[in-house]
Amino acid sequence: MTTAALPRGITITALTKRYGDTQALAGLDLAVLPGQILGIAGPNGAGKSTLVRILSGEATPDTGVITIDGRRWTARDGIDRVAVVHQEPQLFPNLTVADNLLVGREGSRLGWPHSRPADDEILQQVGLAGVRDHTVGSLPLAMQQRVEIARALVQRADVFLFDEPNSALTEHESAELFAQMRALADAGRCVMLVSHRLGELAAYAQRVVIIIDGRAQTELSGEEISEERIARELVVGRSGATETLRPGAVGGGEVILELTKWTERGGAFRDLDLRIHAGEVLAIVGVEGSGGRELVRSVAGFERADGQMMLAESGSSRSGDRVVYLTGDRSESLFDNLSVGENLYLRVVKRLTTRLGYLRRGQAETGAAQAKDEFLVKAASLSLPIRSLSGGNQQKVAIAAALTVAPHLFAVEEPTRGVDLGSKAEIYRLLREFCSRGSSVLMYCTEDSEVFDVADRVCVMADGRIADVLSVSDYGDAESLAEAIAGLAGSDLIPAAP
């Protein structure tokens, strides 16, 4: 859409990158123009972070061409010209703000380096002059991010990547951050904003590119950009849509879990009332910081919350086994030093132990072999190291290990994060099967299409409260559901555009 004489900015053509058996980028085309904020949206695992890592010089692409201001890009450009502002600032918390700006450009080999007048000007510019001599670790997160911006400015960076920068900021802090972003763009720099918060993309970006499965699927600009439109494109663009697995309306079954005035101690969510019935999959959606993730954890006892939690009784299970929890991050759910089989039976070994503490490995292996077949884990042997399996199969092992406990409630975060499409469909089927035996699933989702494919109801969280609970069967297609969710999840989080 721009046909300037000089090819300014960054042009990316047919970029590919493969990690093991995951194709993170599969021919990505993208143009970043100076003077505007480019929004990047896409589901988890779509390749957004890989793109960020390549542009910042942390990773090298397999194939493809990147040019900057008309000439070939090198990894050196990534280091010299690109600044990444992370959700977790990567700074030196033990040094002062001024010293943080000096690291890497001390300029003297002897003695403690001295700050330069130009640095103070930049601190003034980003509003940090008042805390110049404070240690970075003592500052609030929002200010730390500004230190990151200042650090990039003194290094004369002219490409700024904001990677989910405000997931832990307050509304007011976010607004200030966006004002900074705007100022950077107005000064003729390239600004990219990667975000799950569609409302913010709609409010601040001049162009929005939707990345799905490692490709730029859609580009929206100007009037086309709206929160609902982005949500719809995110769902439309997903490949190989599976047919829905919901058995139809499930209602009025036994109540498995009931929360009353459920309030997290740290304030992530407040006064929630929620019920989960036997046999249903209840999805929790909401941007990071909405309290959705914390809600799922709190039900399993891994976030402290007050209020009332009623859990269905059962003769067979001990209370510890009634709720089983699985994180979205496989590095926190699998044991690298154990085999596939050991990972599968880890949660049930206590039942296979004699009174003298002898572990009946034979029986455990038999059970693991059955679980492996039942959960469609593709592994040549149970004694292979767990990390030798593909991501999808690792995730199936993690889910199988949790479900062999036979809990009443399976509390899970992002059950298909970083998983290939085939495995995704299989995991959805396994979750439905689990529910068909009278148990329930409470899952935190970041993808609307996942909600449509597997959930019965969806609880939309915004700002620590339940915005609404929708019945998925009221929506004929994933797109209309996504629009409805987007309308609920983002609205009161977005500060007015400047």
Partner: protein
């Protein structure tokens, strides 16, 4: 599905097709260590003109190994659960000393004195475990602190003196029966002149083998050491197991301390100082990882054997204490580097 996991062992084969990779890797490591030991022994045998293979020499070596192994197995348990213990040397020194002081100076029955030593060791283990798991001090610091603390107590109770039951000092007489019984703990006429220490080592090794390889405890210990965060999410008793690991390590060190006192019939306050680094070297050579989740009884035993061989062989060829240190340091680093290199090679292959 729970039902299938727990109560129907008849269905489906336990080991469906494919190679047994993890056990195979373990076997490869053990075989490599055995091969190294054989080569080093052959080398010493040649260089020392056969002196190395004299029965007396081999038996002496076995005795040193048994002390190292009893302490090393305790350390292995702590390393498997992903922690570190620097206090076992001090506990080893304290145990011999408190037994001697309580028995000789305070006039307690020797059995009660030994029991008291074990009680003290358990207290140190709980102390280490408490500060590591409850107040969440890194175990490196917690056990460094307790090590100095315990050594201080050793000096305090002993008045920095040396104790020998046969010479209890002026004005004291010892119960001969008790003295004989105590010496008998590690001085018996065994066939082939085998040292009693070897029998103790064998017993301890069997217990630890059951504990680490056959029991629920060992399995969970390994899981916790491999990924403490995941272990917590899976409702494994992370703190309790770590506490147990520290207690087990302290008790093993205590046993070794009492046995060595019994064998050499005299005890000095600083006897534990020379044990710390050789034990770490032996256990690491044996394949235990300082980052947790790895470590076996057979590995630790072989590591202790290799270290005993080096210790003995280098002394035999009159290499001198300095060269001995240099050599053992180099072997320790070499073993770990080699282990990591073969792992990487296996991954790439």
């Amino acid at each position: 599905m729970t039902a299938s996991a727990t109560s129907s062992p008849s269905a489906s084969s336990a080991s469906p097709g494919g190679g047994a990779r993890l056990p195979l890797r373990e076997f490869g490591r053990t075989a490599g260590l055995v091969l190294t030991i054989v080569l080093v022994m052959a080398l010493f045998a040649i260089v020392s003109d056969g002196k190395f293979l004299q029965p007396d020499n081999l038996l002496g070596m076995l005795r040193y190994m048994s002390t190292l192994a009893i302490v090393g197995l305790g350390l292995t348990v702590v390393l498997v659960v992903g922690e570190i213990d620097l206090s076992f040397g001090a506990v080893y020194g304290f145990s011999g000393m408190i037994t001697a002081v309580a028995w000789i100076s305070w006039g307690w029955n020797v059995g009660i004195a030994i029991g008291f030593a074990f009680l003290c060791a358990i207290v140190v283990g709980i102390f280490n475990g408490f500060f590591t798991t409850v107040t969440k001090i890194p175990s490196f610091i917690a056990t460094l602190g307790s090590s100095i603390l315990v050594f201080g107590f050793t000096l305090l109770v002993s008045g920095s003196g040396t104790y020998t039951p046969r010479q209890p000092g002026p004005g004291r007489t010892m119960n001969e029966q008790q003295v004989d019984w105590f010496y008998g703990l590690s001085n018996q006429n065994l066939p082939l002149g085998l040292p009693m220490g070897a029998i103790w080592m064998l017993g301890v090794a069997l217990i630890f083998w059951y504990l680490l390889s056959k029991s629920l405890f060992g399995f969970r210990l390994k899981a916790i050491g491999g990924n403490p965060i995941a272990a917590n999410f899976a409702h494994l008793p992370v703190r309790r197991y770590k506490l147990w690991a520290f207690v087990i390590c302290a008790v093993a060190a205590c046993l070794a301390g009492v046995l060595v006192f019994s064998f050499i019939s005299t005890v000095q306050p600083d006897s534990g100082a020379n044990l710390l680094f050789p034990t770490f070297a032996a256990v690491v050579i044996g394949g235990a990882s300082l980052s947790g989740g790895r470590g076996t009884v057979i590995g630790t035993l072989l590591g202790c054997l290799l270290l005993a061989i080096l210790n003995n062989g280098l002394a035999l060829i009159a290499a001198g204490a300095f060269l001995q240190q240099i050599f053992i340091g180099a072997v320790t680093i070499g073993a770990v580097v080699l282990d990591q290199a073969t792992q990487r090679w296996r991954r790439d292959a």
